[in-house]
Each structure stands twice: as C-alpha cells, then as structure tokens.
C-alpha cells in the first residue's frame, strides 16, 4: 500500500471503529420499523407461548397456584424417566465424541481434492428424513431383523438389542453423529498449519502437539458438537418410541404422554423442569466455549 492509501485505510479503520459494525443507517430510524413484524411475531409466538407453559406449569385445573406440577418430577416414574434419559444421552454424547473426533482429524488430513466430497458423504444421511433413519435401525435390530438373520446364517447366537436402552443409544448415536463430526471438523480446518509446524520445529512430538495445541484450539467445536448432540438426545421421544417398543420411557415420552392424555398442567410442569435443566447444562458447557456466538460464520 502506498502512503496515501495507508492514510485512507487508517481513516477508514477509525471511522469503522466508531461505527462498531458494518452498516449504520444514519439516515433513518425508519429502518427500525423493519423489525416490527418480527417483534410482534416474536412476542406472539415465542414469548407468550413460553409464558403459557409457565402458567400451566404453575397452576392446576382450577387455575389456582400450585407447585405440584414441578415437584412431580420427584415422583419415581418421572424421576427415573429423567435419569434414564440423562444417562442415555450422556452415553450417546460420549460415544459420538469418541467416534467423531478421530474422524474429524482424518478428514482434516486428507487431500483437498476429495475433501468436500467426503464431507458431503458424511452429511448425506443427515438429509434423509429423521424418522426413516430411525426406522431403518428398527429393521436391523428386530428379533427377526436383518442383523439376527445374518447371525443365524453364521450360526451365531442372536442378539436381542431391540427394545432395550442399548438400541436407544444406537439410535441416538446414529442420528446425531454428523452433528458432532461437523463442528469439530470445521474448527480443525481453521487451525493454522503454521502453528502446528512451529510446534514441531520447537521439538514437540505428536502427542504433545495434540495435547497442547490441537485439543485446546478445537474445544469450541467440541463444545458445539456436545450441545448439538446432548440436548436433542435428552429430550427425544421418537427414538425411544420406535426403538424401545414402548418399554423404554424417557422424560420426552413422559411429557408427550401427559399432553396426549390431556394433562397439560403436569406436562407443562415437567417441561419447565426440563427447560431449566437444559439451560443449566448449557451454561456449564459454555464455560468452555469462550468464543460464544460471536465468531464469524463467514
């Protein structure tokens, strides 16, 4: 850059610093009006519905205040459903992490040409309908399903996985694995190769490079992945219905059943507990993600 260009550049930078983000419509608070449709929508369809859940959760059928719907989480049935869901979702998340991280590293190290293609191949099952993916596993795991047919053919003992928690974990891992791979992969490819090379030059071996450089830098992606797997698997009722044969009752099933049977108060109370739970877990998890929502998508 020439001297004058540099001046212009600095001037621009200063101006931009003042305006703090890209586009300021200095001429027109008219722009604010653009947000009105969304504001109304937001209040009507996001805030008020939430208030309704709080309302139903804290009242009983006669519209008087009660905490019964919240404390009902302590009922053995509900408590066990929540604990089981917690256990299964944590197990699934860990399995996803263990499977996904090496995969992301391998993908990161492959040559550029086939790079995007492989990513697409990993994502492709994600684009299949969620229910169909789960049904596919039902077919495999059924007593007279594909897996057992193959095992019988090989004269091996048949496995009775369907309708057990193991099947649910399988279903969760299968459905959510791409959601764990992608964030980690995306963060890994952003790690500057020069940094890794510099570490090598300074004498670090593979293990040290991984522990000291790659792992900490990949943490935001890991956190992203964990969130995207943990929350849906904690609250699912579809997977437990299709792969659990109505034997496995998770907190999602309990809430769905309450609403199906018309017990909106109990259902809302349990939903409130679930919401608080999720918020709490995410607050804990996001302590590890210092970047937060601010990082650029582009």
């Amino acid at each position: 850059m020439t001297v004058t260009e540099k001046d212009d550049h600095n001037l621009k930078q200063n101006k931009e610093k003042k305006s703090e983000h890209g586009l300021q419509f200095s001429r027109g608070n008219q722009v604010k009006w653009l947000s009105f449709p969304y504001l109304i929508w937001m209040i009507g369809f996001i805030l008020i519905p939430l208030i309704m859940i709080v309302y139903y959760g804290l009242t009983n059928g006669e519209n008087s205040f009660t905490t019964a719907n919240i404390s009902i989480i302590a009922d053995p049935i509900n408590r066990d459903a929540l604990l089981l869901a917690l256990e299964l979702s944590i197990v699934s998340t860990i399995i996803c992490l263990i499977l996904a991280y090496p995969l992301a590293i391998i993908l990161n190290n492959t040559k550029l040409k086939s790079n995007s293609f492989i990513v697409l191949i990993i994502i492709l099952p994600m684009w299949m309908n969620f229910l169909l993916r789960t049904i596919a596993w039902q077919n495999i795991l059924e007593r007279t399903g594909v897996l057992n047919t193959i095992l019988e053919f090989l004269h091996l003992p048949t496995l009775n996985i369907i309708n057990t928690p193991a099947a649910i974990v399988l279903g969760m891992v299968y459905n959510f694995l791409p959601f764990m791979v992608l964030p980690i992969y995306n963060v890994l490819i952003k790690i500057d190769k020069d940094v890794v090379n510099a570490a090598r030059d300074l004498g670090a071996n593979t293990g040290q490079t991984f522990r000291k450089i790659i792992l900490p830098l990949s943490l935001p992606g890991v956190v992203s992945g964990i969130t995207m797997v943990f929350v849906p698997s904690l609250t699912t009722f579809v997977i437990s219905t299709i792969l659990g044969g109505s034997k496995i009752v998770l907190i999602g099933n309990v809430i769905e059943q309450q609403f199906r049977l018309g017990n909106w108060n109990t259902g809302s109370g349990l939903s409130l507990v679930l919401m608080v739970f999720i918020l709490f877990s995410m607050a804990v998890i996001s302590k590890y993600d210092k970047e937060g929502e601010g990082s650029n998508v582009w």
Binding site: P76, V119, G245, G262, S295
Partner: protein, 376 residues
C-alpha cells in the same frame, strides 16, 4: 451451535451462489424462481384435489374401517371424509374434551361413552337421520343400555372380546389361561397390550378379581404382576400386534377378537382363545360430540355404517364382530358366519365383563400404576 450446520451449508451455498458474473447470478435467481414455482404448483396440484366445503370429521380406532367404504361414502353423499385415528380411549377423550379439534363422529368404547355422556360431551342422535338403525340386532342395543341407558347417544359399531393369540408352532401346547403371558418360558416372545384398562383387566382377571376393581390393594397386586411381566415382554403394542404375529416375530400376543380372524387368514398357525379366568367383552359405538360442526353429516355417516351391505363389507375387511343382524345374515362364508372367534358361544361370553367408567380419581390411580409398571 447451529453455526456449525450453517457453516457447512453456507460454504456450499457460497460456492454455488457467488458466481463469477452477473449473468450467472441471474441464472441462479431464475433457477430458484422456477424451482419454487414448480414446487408450489406440484404441491397445489396433489394437495388440493378435493376442496369441497361439505365435510365430516371422523375420529376412529386404527385399522378399524375399510378404506373403500370411506371412498364410496364420499361418492354417494358428496361429503368429504376427514379421517383421524387414535390408539386408546384415554388419548381420544382429552382431545374431545379440550375441543381443540372439533370432530363430528367418534367411536369410543363402552365405558368411555358412559364417561363422555356423564360429562355432557355428547349430542343426542337424531334417529330420523339414522333409519338404518333397524339393522342393528336389538340384543346389542339392549346391552348398550348398561353405558347408554336410553340409547340416546350411541350406535353400536363393533363388539368383541379380548384374548390371547398364539402361534401353534412356537408354544408348547394349546393355551387356555392368562398365565401364558406371565410365563417366563416365553420371555421376549410376548406382545403385551399397551392400554391401561386392558392390561389391568387382564391382571385382575388372572388374580381372580373383578376387572372393574376399585380396591387399591387388588390394584397394587395387579401392578406387581405386570411389573414382573415387564422383562418378559418383547414390546407393548396395540395395532402393531397384528403384523408382528403374522410375521412370526412373537409367540404370544394379547389381541382383540376382531384382529384374530384377520391374522388367522394371513397365518394359519395362529389360534385365538378367551382364557378361562375370564376377560373383557366390549362394544364400540359411534357418538357425536356436542361441539361438532357438521351434525347432519355425522348422522349420515352413522347411517351409512349401519347399512347392511356396508356393514358386511366392513366386517369382511376388519373382521371385527358386527352387531348388525342384517349384515350377519348376508355372510356367505359359513366358517366365518359360525366362527367361534367372531361370534363366541354364550359360555365364553358368560365369563367376560364389560368395563365400567370408574370415576376420575380411580382413572388417575389406574394410569399412575400403569406408569409405574413401565418405569421399572
């Protein structure tokens, strides 16, 4: 967190949408435009085929009507049928009560009809619009009086028993007791019914109690029995039991008598039995909720269902016992006409009881205990 999916899709979009020049940009916009137009056109074409205003909203059990009957009803009357299904009475009831969806004609079971009429949810049927009621065997109208004292609110549709369906080749010998479904030699091979009253009805009957029991200690005993059964059960199912038994995926299933005939046709190894300890005999009937929108269409629909030929057609498709005497006379297949499954002997019926509505508190107790069974 979503930024992840965003990033990947964004990258792909960027590659496609950041074209080299304006010409390509316009091309992209054109493609998008036509794609959208095409999708909407396709959607409208396939979606808006029947758009008459004249409708009837029907809420019925799953696999409980011949789809051809719905089509012929639409053709003959010009009334469009909007058909929805439920699996349990307890799931149908809150929907009618809340009124979030207004159904015109619903098919609850006996005790549920009693509950709904007690709570004033049902409209009186205008029998001037249902002349075909004459086809219904008066015996069933008489037994309906136990839950619909003046036959004001319901018209019988199907009736039947609850029993065991078993695969002859997969069990030790003929089964005649509820004990079989609690027997651990059939572990993993038992399909239990996923319905609270039926599950408890079975357990109470097996223990020698009344299946309308309100005695908490008896219910607790029944619950314990069901809990012991939990590890033996392959799955808790309602409609799925049919295909699973036909496919030989389980040895024993709890099933309604109507399903039994259908499954026996598809798989001759299957046998149906109403166990010795006693069981449930039920009647399902058409009712019209008070908050319905098309009452006359509802009555036309009920009338159509009572037509002898239609009732016969339905019977042959769903194989549930029909209370329609005229239809029964028209059955040509002697086997079915005299089938012990479809039309059991009096001795069998004597050991069967109808469910009664037990009141809100008792209902809640039943459901609570049922949840405890599954929560192990």
């Amino acid at each position: 967190m979503i930024k992840v999916t965003l990033e990947v899709i964004t990258k792909e979009i960027r590659r496609v949408a950041n074209p080299l020049n304006n010409k390509e940009k316009n091309e992209m916009k054109k493609i998008l435009f036509y794609l959208t137009l095409f999708t909407i056109a396709f959607g409208l074409m396939t979606g808006c085929s029947k758009d008459t205003g004249n409708k009837v909203y029907v809420y019925n059990w799953g696999e409980y009507i011949d789809p051809d009957v719905l089509d012929s009803f639409e053709e003959e009357t010009g009334i469009e049928v909007v058909y929805d299904e439920f699996e349990q009475n307890e799931e149908m009831y809150p929907k009618i009560k809340a009124g979030a969806v207004q159904y015109d004609v619903v098919c609850p079971s006996d005790y549920m009809i009693q509950k709904m009429s007690d709570e004033g949810l049902l409209a009186e049927i205008n029998y001037d619009n249902v002349p075909n009621i004459k086809n219904i065997d008066p015996a069933y109208l008489e037994s309906s009086k136990s839950f619909d004292p003046e036959n004001k609110y319901s018209v019988p549709y199907c009736w039947g028993t609850l029993g065991i369906l078993y695969n002859k080749t997969m069990v030790d010998g003929p089964i005649d007791s509820w004990g079989a479904i609690f027997d651990d030699k059939y572990t993993g091979n038992i399909l239990m019914i996923d319905s609270v009253r039926d599950a408890f009805g079975i357990a109470l009957s097996y223990l020698g109690y009344d299946l309308n029991s309100t005695d908490e200690s008896q219910l607790e005993e029944a619950k314990e029995l069901l809990k012991q059964q939990y590890p033996l059960v392959q799955a808790y199912v309602v409609d799925q039991v049919r295909d699973k038994m036909i496919g030989g995926e389980a040895a024993i299933g709890v099933i309604y008598s109507g399903e039994a005939i259908f499954t026996q046709r598809e798989n001759p190894d299957l046998e149906y039995v109403v166990p010795n300890e006693g069981s449930n005999v039920w009647i399902d009937g058409w009712v019209i909720p008070k908050n319905c929108r098309n009452k006359e269409n509802a009555e036309a629909f009920i009338n159509y269902m009572c037509d002898a030929k239609i009732a016969l057609k339905n019977f042959e498709y769903i194989t549930y016992s029909t209370p329609n005497a005229a239809a029964r006379d028209m059955i040509t297949d002697e086997d079915i006409k005299n089938s012990k499954v479809a039309f059991p002997e009096q001795s069998v019926l004597d050991r069967c009881r109808t469910y009664r509505y037990l009141g809100e508190d008792m209902e809640a107790l039943y459901i609570n205990k049922w949840n405890e069974v599954k929560s192990n």
